[in-house]
Amino acid sequence: MNKSKWFFTPVLIWLGLFLIVPMLIVVAMSFMQRDTLGNVVYSFSWEGYKTFWDSLYLGIYWDTIVLSITTTVICLVVSYPLAYYLANSSPRVQNWGLILITIPFWINFLIRTYAWVLLLRTQGVVNSLLIHFGWIDEPLQMLYTKGAVLLGMVYNFVPFMVLPLYVAIEQIDRRLLDAASDLGASRWKAFWHIALPQSKAGIMTGSVLVFVSTAGMFVVTDILGGSKSSMISNIIQAQFLGARNWPFGSALSVIFVLTSLILIVLFSRVMKSRSDRTREGGNA
């Protein structure tokens, strides 16, 4: 199977040119300075990284991580049963399910998000229904809150969780499950000891995709949160645009990419050791 290594060459060339080189430019820029006009000046400086070390930006970074983790956990909890149901259906339903879950996300992101505004605003669909059925007297202020931001994030990233989960759950070795039930294991036991550990690659992948996508998203906080909170991506955006401080923006990005990579590695370690333990437990 050594041939496949050669197929990797075009991939490497592509990534080298269109990913590594641009990233090196960004890393280099993060160690430079800006002049009064906002141009990048080629002289070495730690300024970008020093600016970050400040309770303001550290605090915003912390908020971002908390929101991203919350979004990821909620996505995982609501998506797993759906992906599981899908993987358990007939092939026809599987194909349809996949497509039907993805199609809504082919319509524009802004349109989808503004649709939530129409649903949640004080004279919106949800409030009107609640008042109509007499459950509330005064409209609820749902929009421009942290809850609305969370909802928007979960909504937009559900497919990133469902698809990898489905891919992993679909290939669970069903012979093992048969064997387990032949040996008298309950459904829960079979699920907990066989199905769940075998789908860990999907959980891992889905979580990573949702986590980093949430952290990198900025429009949801603006539209559904009324721009009243900031995410690290809002700050990065502002440095390259309004504030015209490209070195600081680059430094923030480098920090963001590195911490994300570290979190991913840590997470995959934890997942591995957990499933190893389960496997040992199952053997005992």
């Binding site: 026809r92 809504p104 082919w106 802004l110 649709a115 698809l163 990898p164 891919v167 690659a201």
Partner: protein, 268 residues
């Protein structure tokens, strides 16, 4: 097997589909709303569909978006799948760093990706246009395809492939009849994500686009300032209906005469 899926699972899945479709249905309803600043319901109209078909800017943007999405999805799916497959044959010590590189486009904030590629293109004097947008989309989409196909490969041993080769299958035969069928769900899911990302990307496309390569998201973001025209709602409605029809048709054509495969159930 007589076991059926647990009813709660079915109910949960149905609720999830409703959650996913509620905003979409609202967009569809509002595409018939007789007001420009889509606030309250002001009566039924088909005007937006009529003016949509006459609007050359929207049609051009839609065309650009579709061409870019299709081309970049095909290329990204190929490159992403190749990466995932070949990663298995690469020496252990290289896997970590290469994996990191392949994960990067998923992590890098869009604005960085867009700006740094723009700097690169302008240094290399590559004229901006649809092709530069495609290059950018391929670069970030292939990572998603890689990640998803990888999730598939992680749960798949190599015993079957080795057995096939022991029985005298060539490299290509093994790939075609053993490996590929096993990873197909991963490839399809990856391609779906790639297509979705390309169709929806604004920030990266904005920076690497040139004259007459405005994509639909760039167009829509630009419109926000004056109020997004309900034409866009009409367009989204058509897009969804056309996609579903096309897929229905494809399913019908491809599945004719094929019996339903038996498959075993998971617990619950």
């Amino acid at each position: 097997m007589k076991k059926k899926g647990h009813p709660l699972l079915g109910i949960h899945s149905a609720l999830m589909m409703i959650f996913i479709y509620v905003p979409i249905v609202l967009v569809m309803v509002y595409s018939f709303n007789n007001t420009r600043l889509s606030g309250d319901w002001k009566g039924f109209t088909l005007d937006w569909y009529v003016s949509l078909l006459k609007d050359r800017h929207v049609m051009e943007a839609l065309m650009n978006s579709l061409v870019i999405a299709v081309v970049s999805t095909i290329a990204a799916t190929l490159l992403g799948t190749i990466s995932a497959l070949s990663m298995r044959d690469i020496a252990r010590k290289w896997r970590g760093p290469l994996n990191g590189v392949l994960y990067m486009p998923v992590i890098i904030p869009d604005i960085i990706m867009g700006l740094s590629l723009l700097v690169l293109f302008s240094q290399l004097q590559i004229p901006l246009g649809k092709s530069t947008v495609m290059i950018a989309h391929i670069t970030f989409s292939m990572s998603y395809v890689y990640v998803v196909v990888n999730a598939r490969l992680a749960g798949m041993g190599r015993q079957l492939e080795e057995a096939a080769q022991d029985l005298g299958a060539t490299y290509w035969q093994t790939f075609r009849h053993v490996t590929l069928p096993q990873i197909t769900p991963g490839i399809i899911s990856g391609a779906l994500i790639a297509f979705t990302l390309s169709l929806d990307d604004f920030m990266v496309s904005f920076f690497v686009a040139g004259p007459s390569s405005t994509t639909l998201p760039i167009y829509i973001y630009g419109q926000v300032k004056r109020g997004i025209s309900p034409e866009i709602n009409a367009l989204c409605t058509l897009l969804i209906l056309v996609s579903i029809t096309l897929i229905l048709l494809a399913q019908y054509v491809l599945n004719r005469g094929k019996g339903q495969k038996k498959h075993k159930m998971l617990p619950f």
